[in-house]
C-alpha cells in the first residue's frame, strides 16, 4: 500500500508526502519504464525518475505545478517523497487521480489523506477506483 498526505495550509501552501514500501515502488517503476532504480542511491537521475513517475500517476486539481522537494529512505524499507505546491485558498472541491503502483500489484491500495485545518478527508484508491471528487468543506 502507499499513503499520500496532502496538507492544504491557510496561506495557500501545499505539502505533499508520498509514503511507499521502497521495493514495491522500484518494481513498479522498472516494469513501467524499464529503468531499474535504487531509491536509496543519491543521484539526480533517480530524483528525476521518481518525480516523473509520481506526477504521471498522481494528480489533484486546483494546484499549481508541484515542486519536487526531496526523498527519505529508511532501512526498514519505508520511503518518502516530498513535493510542495500552491493552491487557490477559495477552492474547496478537488478532483484527485491516483494510479500509483496499481498496474503492478493486484491488491494495491493507495490511501490518500487531504487535510485542511482540522478537517481530514481520506480516500482509498484501487484498480477499479482511481478518481475521486472531494469537497473539503462537506
Amino acid at each position: 500500500m502507499s499513503i499520500t498526505t496532502i496538507q492544504l495550509h491557510q496561506n495557500g501552501a501545499v505539502d505533499l508526502t508520498f509514503k511507499f514500501v521502497a521495493h514495491d515502488l522500484e518494481k513498479a517503476i522498472e516494469l513501467e519504464t524499464g529503468v531499474a532504480i535504487q531509491v536509496d542511491e543519491q543521484d539526480q537521475l533517480t530524483d528525476s525518475i521518481l518525480e516523473t513517475y509520481i506526477k504521471n500517476h498522481f494528480e489533484i486539481s486546483g494546484l499549481e505545478e508541484a515542486n519536487y522537494l526531496g526523498r527519505e529512505f529508511n532501512l526498514d524499507e519505508t520511503f518518502y517523497v516530498y513535493f510542495t505546491a500552491r493552491y487557490d485558498t477559495t477552492l474547496s472541491k478537488f478532483n484527485v487521480r491516483n494510479t500509483l503502483l496499481l498496474q503492478t500489484f493486484e491488491a494495491q491500495e493507495n490511501i490518500t489523506h487531504i487535510n485542511k485545518g482540522t478537517t481530514q478527508k481520506s480516500l482509498s484508491f484501487k484498480r477499479n477506483l482511481t478518481n475521486y471528487t472531494v469537497n473539503i468543506n462537506e
Partner: protein
C-alpha cells in the same frame, strides 16, 4: 386496544430478548472447534491425537545440459488414523507451471494506459495465452503399487493426484508404491517460482535451487480430512512428517546442499573439504570455509562431463529440498544451544554474493538458531543451511534460499546488507514454523508467517541493537490498519483470499503477538505460554484454536477479546482522550469540613490533591489497555497502566478518575506508541500538534544549511 398493546409489548420483548451479544469480551466459543479426543480445550494434543506418516526413498538426477529433473520414488504411507482410507492424495506442485495451469487463468489485471514496450512485454508475459509457453509441470512416467493389489489406477486433478485404492487402507496398515517422473526446471528469473534455476549468462553456468520436485503426500487429519485444496501459487504447503533417503546425481564438479545428513562424504568431498568440515564442527565463533572463493572461481571455469551421487538421510522431516551448482562457496560453523545438541550453521553462495555472504549469512543462521531455540524448543536437526538465490526467500526443512547480491566491484549498501540478513533470519526461522510446528499454510498463512515474523523481530534485535526491523513494533502496522476496511481481510482468512498479503499474514499477526507480549500479557507470561505451544505442537499439526487455547491456558490470561478483535475482525485501534475534567482540594472545601479527624488522617488531607476525570472514546473498535502518562507541573512524569478489561461493560466509551498529589500539566495516551493507535492526534490533553513527516524533513534540510544560506546570502 388492549390487544394491540399486548402485541406491541410482545414485539418489544422479543426484540430485546433476541438481541445478539456483541460485547467485545464475549467468549470465543462460537469461533473455535469443539474440543475432542484429538485436540483438548487446553490447546494440547488430545489423548487420541494421531498423525499420518510418509517415508520416501528417492533417486533424482539433475541434468545440467537440459536443465531437467528426472526422479524415481518409493513412498511408504502409514495410516495412523482411526479411519479406513478409500483413496490417497498426493501433491503435484510442479503442475502450477504446467500449460493450462489455473494459476495463470485466475490472475486478474487491467490494460495499462502506458503504451511503451516494457509495459507491453510485462502484460503479454503475465496475462498472454501462449506468449510464454514454458513446458512445465510433472511428466509422470510410472505410478505403480508395490504393495500387492493396492491400486490399479490414479487420477490427476491439476496440482493433486488421487490413488484409487482397490480396498480401503485400514487403520494401522501401510501401503507402498513407486512413482517415476521428470520435469523441465523453470528459469526463476524469467517466470518466477519458489525454486528453479538461475542462469549466469557471462560464464554459461547455472545455480539450481530445487524443491517441490517430487510427488508429495497430502496431510490427512481430524480437522481437514485430506488437505487437497488446489495449489494456486500463494497458499503454501501442508505435509506429513516422514523419513527420507535421497540420492542426488549431479555433475561431478557441483557442490550439493540438501536437507538431512550427508551419508557418503568420502565419495563426494575431497580430503581437504572433509578436514575443513571437521574443523567447522568445533568452531563456534566464526564460519570456516569448506570451499573457498578462489576454489569456486577455478571450478566454475570448466564443466565436468561425469557425475557424482550424493546421499542424504533425514529423519522426521516434512519435506526435502536441495541446491546444486559448481559456483558454490561453502562455509560452516558450530552453534551451541541451551538444552540441545550442538548443530551446524552453513551457507552456500556464488562469488556474486561476496563479501556480504561470507560476513553475515552463516552468522545470521547461527543467531536464528540461538534465539528461536530460546523461545521455542532446541533445534532438533543436525544443520541449518542458507543458500544464495537471487530475488527470492523460501524455506524448506534444514535448507532455505535467500537473496542478497553485491555490486560487481564487491561493494554493497546497508540496505542490501539488512535485506539479506532479514531474509536469512526469516527463512531459517521457518524451520520452526511450519517445518517443525507443522501448521497448515494452505489454509492459514499467518500460523507460520506471522509467528515466524514475530520471532524474526526478536532475532534481529538480538543480532544487532537497534536493528532496522521492518515488522514487529506496534507503530509500523498503523498505516495498514487504518486503511479502507474493504481492502483489509481479518487475519483468519484463507491464504488465497487475503488482501494485502504481506501486511495481513506477516505484519499484523507478528505485531499482534509483539503487542500481546510487551503491552498486554507481559514477557514472562507470554514467553512461557508461547514456548508451551511450541513444545506441545513440535512435530505435530496445530490449528489456530490450539494456539489460541494454549496461550490462554498456560498463562491464566483470558485473551478471547484479543483473538476476536485482532484475528477475527479488521477493526483498528483508535482510542481518544475525549474530555478531561479537573478538580482540586479547593473544590471540595465544604465537604472536607464535614469529615472527622480520623477520616481526614486516613485520607491524608493535610496534603494537596488533584482529581482528574478522563473520558476515553474507542473510535477504532479494538479494545486495548490504556497507557496514560501524566506530566506534572514540576516536569516529573507518572504512567498509569490500565488493563483492557476497563472496556468490559461499555466497549465504546469509559470514564476513569485519577487522584494525584501533584498538579498535572499534560496527559498523553499511549505516549510510546505501544498499541498501534492509528490516530495519535487525539491522544493528548491539552491538544498537541504532532509535526508531519514533511515538516520534519524541511527542518532537517534547513539545519544542514547555515543561517546565511537559509536567508539566501
Amino acid at each position: 386496544m388492549n390487544k394491540l398493546i399486548v402485541i406491541l409489548l410482545s414485539i418489544l420483548v422479543f426484540k430485546v430478548s433476541g438481541q445478539e451479544n456483541v460485547n467485545k469480551f464475549r467468549q470465543l466459543k462460537d469461533k473455535l472447534a469443539t474440543p475432542n479426543v484429538y485436540r483438548t480445550a487446553s490447546g494440547a494434543p488430545g489423548h487420541q491425537y494421531y498423525q499420518q506418516q510418509a517415508n520416501y526413498e528417492i533417486d533424482v538426477v539433475l541434468d545440467d545440459n537440459r536443465q531437467k529433473i528426472t526422479g524415481k520414488e518409493v513412498v511408504t504411507y502409514i495410516n495412523n488414523s482411526p479411519d479406513p482410507l478409500e483413496y490417497l492424495w498426493l501433491q503435484l506442485d510442479q503442475n502450477v507451471r504446467a500449460k493450462g495451469s489455473d494459476t495463470k487463468k485466475v490472475k486478474t489485471g487491467q490494460i495499462s494506459k502506458n503504451k511503451d514496450l516494457n509495459t507491453l512485454y510485462y502484460t503479454l508475459k503475465t496475462f498472454g495465452e501462449g506468449y510464454y509457453e514454458f513446458d512445465g509441470g510433472f511428466k509422470l512416467t510410472k505410478v505403480k503399487t508395490i504393495t500387492p493389489n493396492a491400486f490399479d489406477s490414479f487420477t490427476v486433478n491439476k496440482t493433486m493426484m488421487r490413488l484409487n485404492l482397490n480396498k480401503p487402507l485400514a487403520p494401522g496398515d501401510s501401503v507402498k508404491f513407486r512413482i517415476e517422473w521428470y520435469y523441465n526446471i523453470n528459469d526463476r528469473m524469467e517466470i518466477g517460482g519458489r525454486s528453479g534455476l538461475e542462469y549466469f549468462r557471462e560464464e554459461d553456468n547455472y545455480l539450481y535451487t530445487i524443491a517441490q520436485f517430487y510427488p508429495r503426500m497430502c496431510v490427512y487429519n481430524d480437522v481437514e480430512g485430506w488437505q487437497n485444496k488446489q495449489f494456486l501459487g500463494r497458499g503454501e504447503f501442508a505435509l506429513p512428517f516422514g523419513n527420507f533417503k535421497v540420492n542426488i546425481t549431479a555433475p561431478s564438479d557441483h557442490i550439493v546442499a540438501a536437507t538431512g545428513d550427508l551419508k557418503n562424504q568420502k565419495e563426494v568431498l575431497t580430503k581437504t573439504q572433509i578436514s575443513r568440515l571437521e574443523k567447522a564442527k568445533k568452531t563456534y565463533d566464526n564460519p570456516v570455509l569448506i570451499v573457498t572463493q578462489k576454489e569456486a572461481e577455478e571450478i566454475e571455469k570448466t564443466k565436468a562431463t561425469t557425475t557424482k551421487t550424493w546421499t542424504f538421510h533425514a529423519a522426521n522431516v516434512r519435506d526435502f529440498a536441495f541446491a546444486s551448482s559448481r559456483k558454490f562457496i561453502w562455509d560452516a560453523m558450530a552453534v551451541k544451544q541451551d538444552g540441545g545438541d550442538d548443530v551446524m550453521a552453513m551457507s552456500y553462495y556464488p562469488k556474486e554474493g561476496n563479501p556480504l555472504w561470507e560476513e553475515h549469512s552463516t552468522r545470521a543462521v547461527a543467531q536464528t538458531l540461538r534465539t528461536y531455540s530460546k523461545y521455542t524448543i532446541p533445534y532438533p536437526y543436525p544443520k541449518a543451511i542458507s543458500v544464495n538465490a537471487k530475488q527470492i526467500g523460501m524455506e524448506y526443512p534444514m535448507i532455505c534460499f535467500n537473496y542478497g547480491r553485491c555490486e560487481n566491484d564487491g561493494t554493497y549498501s546497508d540496505r542490501v546488507k539488512y535485506g539479506m540478513i532479514t531474509v536469512v533470519i526469516h527463512e531459517v526461522g521457518h524451520n520452526y514454523f511450519p517445518m517443525i510446528i507443522n501448521s497448515d499454510e494452505r489454509q492459514w498463512t499467518w500460523m507460520d508467517e506471522g509467528l515466524n515474523t514475530y520471532l524474526q523481530y526478536l532475532t534481529e534485535q538480538e543480532y544487532q541493537e537497534d536493528y532496522p526491523s521492518r515488522r514487529g513494533p506496534a507503530h509500523k502496522i498503523v498505516d495498514y490498519m487504518k486503511g479502507d476496511k474493504k481492502m483489509i481481510s481479518p487475519i483468519m482468512t484463507n491464504s488465497e483470499s487475503i488482501w494485502q498479503f504481506g501486511n495481513n499474514a506477516y505484519g499484523k499477526p507478528a505485531t499482534a503477538l509483539n503487542i500481546l507480549r510487551e503491552t498486554v500479557m507481559g514477557k514472562e507470561l507470554f514467553d512461557y505460554a508461547f514456548k508451551k505451544y511450541a513444545q506441545r505442537w513440535a512435530f505435530k499439526h496445530p490449528t489456530p484454536a490450539d494456539f489460541f487455547r494454549t496461550m490462554e491456558d498456560a498463562s491464566g490470561v483470558d485473551l478471547d477479546w484479543y483473538w476476536r478483535g485482532w484475528f477475527y475482525t479488521n477493526d483498528h485501534v483508535d482510542i481518544a482522550i475525549k474530555k478531561v475534567i479537573e478538580k482540586d482540594k479547593k473544590d471540595y472545601k465544604k465537604a472536607l469540613k464535614e469529615l472527622n479527624d480520623v477520616q481526614k488522617k486516613a485520607l491524608k488531607l493535610d496534603e494537596d490533591f488533584f482529581i482528574y476525570q478522563i473520558d476515553f472514546e474507542n473510535i477504532g473498535g479494538l479494545v486495548m489497555p490504556l497507557i496514560v502518562e501524566f506530566t506534572y507541573e514540576d516536569g516529573t512524569k507518572k504512567t498509569h497502566y490500565i488493563p483492557a478489561e476497563i472496556w468490559k461493560l461499555t466497549n465504546d466509551e469509559v470514564s476513569k478518575v485519577f487522584v494525584e498529589k501533584k498538579k498535572v500539566k499534560s496527559i498523553a495516551l499511549d505516549p510510546y506508541l505501544e498499541t498501534a493507535d492509528t490516530d495519535i492526534s487525539n491522544n493528548y490533553y491539552p491538544k498537541k500538534v504532532v509535526p508531519t513527516k514533511i515538516e520534519a524533513y524541511k527542518l532537517k534540510e534547513a539545519q544542514k544549511k547555515s543561517v546565511l544560506e537559509r536567508v539566501g546570502k
